[in-house]
């Protein structure tokens, strides 16, 4: 509550000092959708009510502390009961609460109305990136943190300082058209994640094995950034969400472009093609960088005690079937999840890469056909 007092005060000072941008540090981000705006207004309304209560209640307390002190010679009165007063200060807060609940109820109802969307996008949480599927358009891609590791780990502190989107940038943003109702369906592959974009006023947990939904409609073109909001393990702080809202024509062009790219990738990842060990290894290195490196590290040495080393691992250089099964199905009860969602070529490639990298020199290739045979 004082929180509000100081916040309003600080916000005013910041406005005076640095213009509108400064104020965002003290309040919810500027709303860019209907729901976000309603939430913003609700929050402001409640803060004003709280401020009023604060002034009355703690004004009384402060007055009492000053006036009714022994050192000021005040003699204690001995009253200790008054039913009327008790009823009054039970009923008045109750009425104030009803005043707050009414607008809040309206917003809850409109928040939950995910009917008749123009576009439906499935967001899938992975440890630690997001996968997106545009259900009608058939566009699918992964979206991972784009901030270079050396900026995070301190090797490049200068780069960090000059990166305005530090930790809030991804390789492939979600692109949506302005003014259209976008329904987001969330789910997860491993643990619970949460898909959150503050400026759009949505946060929806992504729960493995279950599907939830929410919606937004972006007011104007722009880039809106959010983060995973549910603790999901080691790199919880490193799986941002970026939504790029563009004009509908640009969106249509983007969809076409993506579809063409996917068709090309499908040809490139054709399991029927004859894959050489070198081809597989090269493809596998990319798959490793996108899916495995966060835990097992670029050195293949993992993190002792938490994530096992792959270099010299018995599973990696043992029978191919064991290795493929581990990648396909994961290991229950550990952070090693199932990578079934990767295609046969990707799994074959990464398996080949692992068998022929670091201290592993099996000289063997895992083929897409090997993988296909092991899929259940």
């Amino acid at each position: 509550m004082t929180s509000k007092l100081a916040r309003s005060f600080a916000a005013v000072m910041a406005l005076l000092a640095t213009g509108i941008a400064g104020a965002n540090q003290y309040n919810l981000q500027p709303p860019q959708s209907i729901i976000a705006r309603e939430i913003y207004d609700l929050h402001s309304l409640i803060m004003w009510i709280i401020l009023a209560i604060f002034v009355v209640v703690f004004g009384a307390m402060t007055y009492s502390i000053i006036a009714h002190r022994k050192s000021a010679g005040h003699k204690a009165e001995q009253f200790h009961e008054n039913t009327t007063v008790e009823i009054v200060w039970t009923v008045i807060p109750f009425i104030i609460l009803i005043g707050m609940a009414y607008p809040a109820t309206k917003t809850v109802v409109s928040m939950k109305d995910t009917s008749n969307p123009d576009i439906t996008i499935k967001a899938t949480g992975y440890q630690w990136k997001w996968g997106y599927d545009y259900l009608q358009e058939g566009v699918s891609f992964y979206s991972s943190l784009a901030t270079p590791r050396d900026q995070i780990d301190g090797g490049n502190a200068e780069g960090r300082k000059n990166n305005p989107n530090y930790l809030l940038e991804v390789d492939n943003p979600v692109v949506v058209p302005v003014g259209k109702k976008v329904r987001i369906i969330t789910t997860a592959n491993d643990v619970i994640h949460s898909w959150w974009v503050p400026a759009l006023g949505i946060k929806q947990d992504a729960i493995p094995g279950f599907v939830r939904d929410t919606w937004f409609k972006v007011d104007k073109a722009g880039t809106y950034r959010g983060q995973c909001a549910e603790l999901c393990g080691k790199d919880h702080g490193f799986m941002p969400i970026v939504v790029e809202a563009v004009e509908p024509e640009k969106y249509a062009a983007w969809v076409k472009d993506q579809q063409a790219k996917m068709a090309k990738a499908a040809v490139a990842d054709d399991p029927a093609k004859s894959w050489s060990l070198a081809d597989l290894k090269a493809r596998g290195e990319k798959v490793y960088a996108a899916n495995c490196v966060a835990c097992h590290q670029a050195t293949g040495m993992g993190v002792p005690g938490a994530f096992p080393a792959l270099s010299g691992s018995k599973i990696v250089i043992g029978p191919k079937t064991d290795q493929i099964a581990m990648v396909l199905n994961g290991k229950a009860g550990t952070a090693m999840q199932s990578f079934k969602h990767l295609n046969d070529v990707e799994i074959a490639a990464v398996s080949t890469y692992l068998r022929n990298n670091w201290n592993n020199n099996s000289g063997e290739a895992v083929t897409p056909a090997d993988v296909k045979a092991l899929r259940k």
């Binding site: 509550m1 929180s3 100081a6 916040r7 965002n24 540090q25 309040n27 919810l28 981000q29 609700l42 929050h43 409640i46 709280i50 604060f54 703690f58 307390m61 009492s64 502390i65 009714h68 002190r69 022994k70 050192s71 204690a76 009165e77 200790h80 008790e86 200060w89 807060p93 809040a104 109820t105 928040m111 939950k112 900026q151 995070i152 301190g154 960090r160 989107n165 530090y166 930790l167 491993d190 643990v191 949460s194 503050p198 949505i202 946060k203 929806q204 947990d205 729960i207 094995g209 279950f210 939830r212 909001a229 603790l231 393990g233 790199d235 919880h236 702080g237 490193f238 005690g305 009860g333």
Partner: protein, 527 residues
């Protein structure tokens, strides 16, 4: 005690007990056990505090400087578990042990041997938690809420935490049964329920809450354990389970739990404010009813921790309304405290300072609680630093400040000496100022969109995080003043009278200071 007689013949009949370490291991005396609880709690408070400072060091500036993310998550998790189960809860049980028999005119707790066992379960549990840092994979890093299925991914540290929670839960349940039995059966003749000091009332209600919900936690963590090791699928969707069910069960325990952490604090403050206002507590009866309503409501609001899991609009509305309702009895309590101060004759010794500080800062946590109750606003603030600010305002400025207030208030009774008022005041003002420097900026970072439980953050949050870290170190160091004040008070100081405070009322002030080893062997008469 039979053995004690043999070893210590000729002692004053009022203080026969083994000496040295065996006195503390074998003791069945409520005062000894209360002391043990309080020292245990302070030790864990220091451990949890060091973990918090380790967190704040990493958050001092953007980038990863000190810890790896996986270790950072262990720190947040263990800080939470240790502070909730190791520091705050045992501190209140310590107060209950010392004060309840003294306040109701009972010679001891009802089950003296079980009382010893309740305490001595805690050190092994704490040891399990601390050891878990050193097992492969380290301590559990799934957050103190240990949400499945993240918690099923953890290493053996998770199992140690589960065992520790089981043991601490058993200790709490035994302690609660003891407290309920003592209060209901051992009050001095004439002390009807509605004449009990409010601290006793709040603990009676808290003990019932504990008995009701600790088994629920035990069930939840046992299901995690069997999911982890015995192939069950309670929370594994692939096997037909439901990860969200864990959250329902956890918060059905967890929400009453937060009232378990605050109701005894209400009780302590309700003892102290009348003393230093030299005026009876205003609205005693409504205080009792308000406490009971809060306790009952605490069972029907759990899903407000889960608004973002995606539940039907009707469920969101029900839990929003129920949560908002809690503001009514909580407001009544705050109004009653202020009405107690109103037209009193106040002095501001350290217990009073901490109590007024409690009312003021706890109310701010209450206000942000109201903000968070509003479902749409909660959608924005869930799992951000705003929530971190909110629960530290109620748990640190609420529970912890009340614990300090109570400690200063009853130290003269426990030690026979007055504490040093200058040190006490320094402790209060340093704590108050640094507390706000640490946690107030978190409201801003949360509103602006900083998620909680992250080891690194975007650049726009840098300034406030730096301020928070500085504040945290100040707050941590201020607690050494408390330790100093307590040690100084134990070792000497101005002799305390039986009634150490001019305005104090109640049976505990009728016995000498320090309270003799055995008190009220013949029950006092209460008019």
């Amino acid at each position: 005690m039979e053995a004690a007689h043999a070893h210590a013949p000729g002692h004053d009949d009022h203080a026969h007990h083994p000496s040295g370490i065996m006195r503390w291991i074998q003791t069945t005396n409520h005062k000894d056990i209360g002391t043990l609880y309080l020292w245990f709690s302070f030790t864990m408070f220091m451990v949890g505090g060091v973990l918090a400072l380790m967190l704040r060091v990493e958050l001092f500036q953007p980038g990863l400087q000190v810890w790896r993310p996986e270790f950072f998550n262990q720190l947040t998790t263990m800080h939470g578990l240790i502070m909730v189960f190791g520091a705050i809860m045992p501190a209140f049980v310590g107060f209950a042990n010392w004060q309840i028999p003294l306040m109701i005119g009972a010679p001891d707790m009802a089950f003296a041997r079980m009382n010893n066992w309740s305490f001595w379960l805690l050190p092994p549990a704490a040891l399990l938690l601390v050891i878990s840092f050193f097992v492969p994979g380290g301590a559990t890093a799934a957050g103190w809420t240990i949400y499945a299925p993240l918690s099923t991914q953890m290493g053996p540290g998770m199992d140690l935490a589960i065992f520790a929670l089981h043991i601490m839960g058993a200790s709490s349940i035994m302690g609660s049964i003891n407290i309920v039995t003592t209060i209901l059966n051992m009050r001095a003749p004439g002390m009807t329920l509605m004449k009990m000091p409010l601290f006793v009332w709040t603990w009676l209600i808290t003990a019932y809450l504990l008995i009701a919900v600790m088994p629920v936690l035990a069930g939840a963590i046992t299901m995690i354990l069997t999911d982890r090791h015995f192939g069950t699928n309670f929370f594994n969707a692939a096997g037909g389970g439901d990860p969200v069910m864990f959250q329902h069960i956890f918060w059905f325990f967890g929400h009453p739990e937060v009232y378990i952490l605050i109701l005894p604090a209400f009780g302590i403050v309700s003892q102290i404010i009348p003393t230093f206002a030299r005026k009876p507590l205003f609205g005693y009866v409504s205080m009792v009813y308000a406490t009971s309503s809060i306790a009952i409501l605490s069972f029907i609001v759990w899903a407000h921790h889960m608004f973002t899991t995606g539940m039907p609009a009707t469920a969101q509305l029900f839990f929003m309304y129920a949560t908002m309702l809690i503001a009514v009895p909580t407001g009544v309590k705050v109004f009653n405290w202020i009405a107690t101060m109103w037209k009193g004759s106040m002095t501001f010794e350290t217990p009073m300072l901490f109590s007024i500080g409690f009312v003021f800062v706890f109310s701010m946590g209450g206000f942000t609680g109201l903000v968070l109750a509003i479902t749409p606003v909660d959608i924005q603030l869930q799992d951000t630093y705003y929530v971190v600010a909110h629960f530290h305002y109620v748990l640190v400025a609420g529970s912890l400040f009340a614990i300090f207030a109570g400690a200063y208030y009853w130290l003269p009774k426990w030690t026979g000496h007055m504490y040093n008022e200058v040190l006490g005041k320094w402790h209060f003002w340093l704590s108050m100022v640094f507390f706000n420097i640490t946690f107030f900026p978190m409201h801003f970072t949360g509103l602006a969109g900083m998620p909680r439980r992250v080891p690194d953050y975007a650049l726009q949050f840098a300034d406030f995080n730096m301020i928070s870290t500085v504040g945290a170190f100040g707050f941590g160091l201020a607690q050494l003043v408390f330790l100093w004040a307590v040690l100084k008070c134990i070792s000497g100081g101005e002799k305390a009278a039986a009634q150490a405070w001019e305005g104090a009322e109640g049976l505990e002030w009728t016995v000498p200071s320090p309270a003799p080893y055995h008190t009220f062997e013949t029950p006092p008469a209460v008019k």
